[in-house]
Subunit: 306 residues, 2 copies
Amino acid sequence: MSIKPSVLIVGAGAIGSFYGAILKRAGCAVSVVMRSEYDAVVAKGIRIESSLGDLSYRPDNVYREGDTQDTAPDYLMLCVKVLPGIDRAALIKPWMGEHTRLVLIENGLDIERELADAFPKNPIISCLAFIAASRTGPGEVEHKAYGRLVMGRYPDGIDAHCEELSALFIEGGIKIDLTEQVVSERWRKCLWNTPFNPLSVLANGADTATILDADGGEALIRALMTEVIEAAAADGHAIPMELIDKNINATRKMPPYKNSMALDYLNGRPIELDAVLGNVVAIAHRHGVAVPHLNTVLAALRMRQA
Amino acid sequence: MSIKPSVLIVGAGAIGSFYGAILKRAGCAVSVVMRSEYDAVVAKGIRIESSLGDLSYRPDNVYREGDTQDTAPDYLMLCVKVLPGIDRAALIKPWMGEHTRLVLIENGLDIERELADAFPKNPIISCLAFIAASRTGPGEVEHKAYGRLVMGRYPDGIDAHCEELSALFIEGGIKIDLTEQVVSERWRKCLWNTPFNPLSVLANGADTATILDADGGEALIRALMTEVIEAAAADGHAIPMELIDKNINATRKMPPYKNSMALDYLNGRPIELDAVLGNVVAIAHRHGVAVPHLNTVLAALRMRQA
């Protein structure tokens, strides 16, 4: 039996806890850094109800911020929200070793750059999670559906680390799509998220059907998606325009639902506005691409936050 | 002593009650059509605290909807909000005589058309009110400041009716600016209202300073104002681009405040979205003028209302 790599999760919310469980099932040593839920997790581990079965586990180590570890992890999995007030590089600095591979399971666009700048020698594996999971209590998670990860080296390519980690996730029971162009994949996910998520917040938590059926609603979604594609193209990532129809048709076929940003807003939690929209607008501006619809949504939300 | 004209007010809220008081001071017979506040106004008249003095008065007649009047008024002053659910033509039809002049003291753009269509033989006097006044209770109004009216015949010109009514308002104690181009004046008022009012609602009731100081806020206001000017130009109403600077500088010099649409929103009252924004966008589309920023604000608010 070969020795499995060690994993440390920073940001063990629903997403981090779930993917930690998968790696635990694959035989990795999985430790976590906790904040407010430290006591609960020390007492009873992480409880996960899932359609895959009971994924509950006791982490190998439960750390608090400020604690020290014996050895740095092989993989540090960062799953915190990308918010202006959170310095992610500072958060993981005490835990990163010389050879630690940094795994990002986070939403949005251009969220790797500040970490690549802070840890230029550590490989970065950038992941997009397609999953429905939520926290139900301290150290408690409900995994409702899905779980697939799209994964690639940042800024591009697939290296041996990606392949090793991918094999572990598959062993643990989920589907992995390795990609040579993870940034392009982020743009494709933004094609839906960048219009729908912030707009649902502007509309006070409206669901997908309300957004599409409002007078001028679908037209606005199409205009926003077109701007995302134009910004992506200027940034070197071609997204076919046909994906607009595909996205809208697929959304209309699903039951109306509130996206994660709408739920964050309705529950009084901060929203990942820059990761999902602000960075897209910034990239568009950098390339001189006009994005008036995206701009209006962004500025209106910033007014609301001010 | 000449006999003064008779006036009937439909929509005796803060604005209607105030301008009725001014005409009452000028010696007109002033009657009102009331709904929910009928009993209060029958019992104690209309109470108005004002910097001009006590403007309280007993209307010559207090009608309910469905009542009949002996003779139609010389002037019917319509001061209701312009909202999709309110059929203003139906509301005034029972009270309009063959020679009644229709006076509109209402906000927004292109709000005269449906009344001109419904009453093609009655002269229409279109007015813009620059006033700070609010209802404080049933039949009770506080007039805080200003009161000037910009007034002209719809669609353009100044006729003898305008001159007569203007003289009465001046006699009653307020300032009147007669204009040959009242629709152009509506566009100029929209230059401020169309960007600031709906945006303040999207930003959950933000005040002027919050809107202008937010990251990207002033730029968005400027983009929206530019689109209003382009739509106005296509519609035959030239507004100089310099007015954008003027409006923004004037707004920055005033203490931060919440505009009337923001207050309506915060108090759970319906907002005049079509009159202030929807009609501007519709006119722009009719002329093939692209207004992406205005469009985004409009569609987002319609989603919220849906």
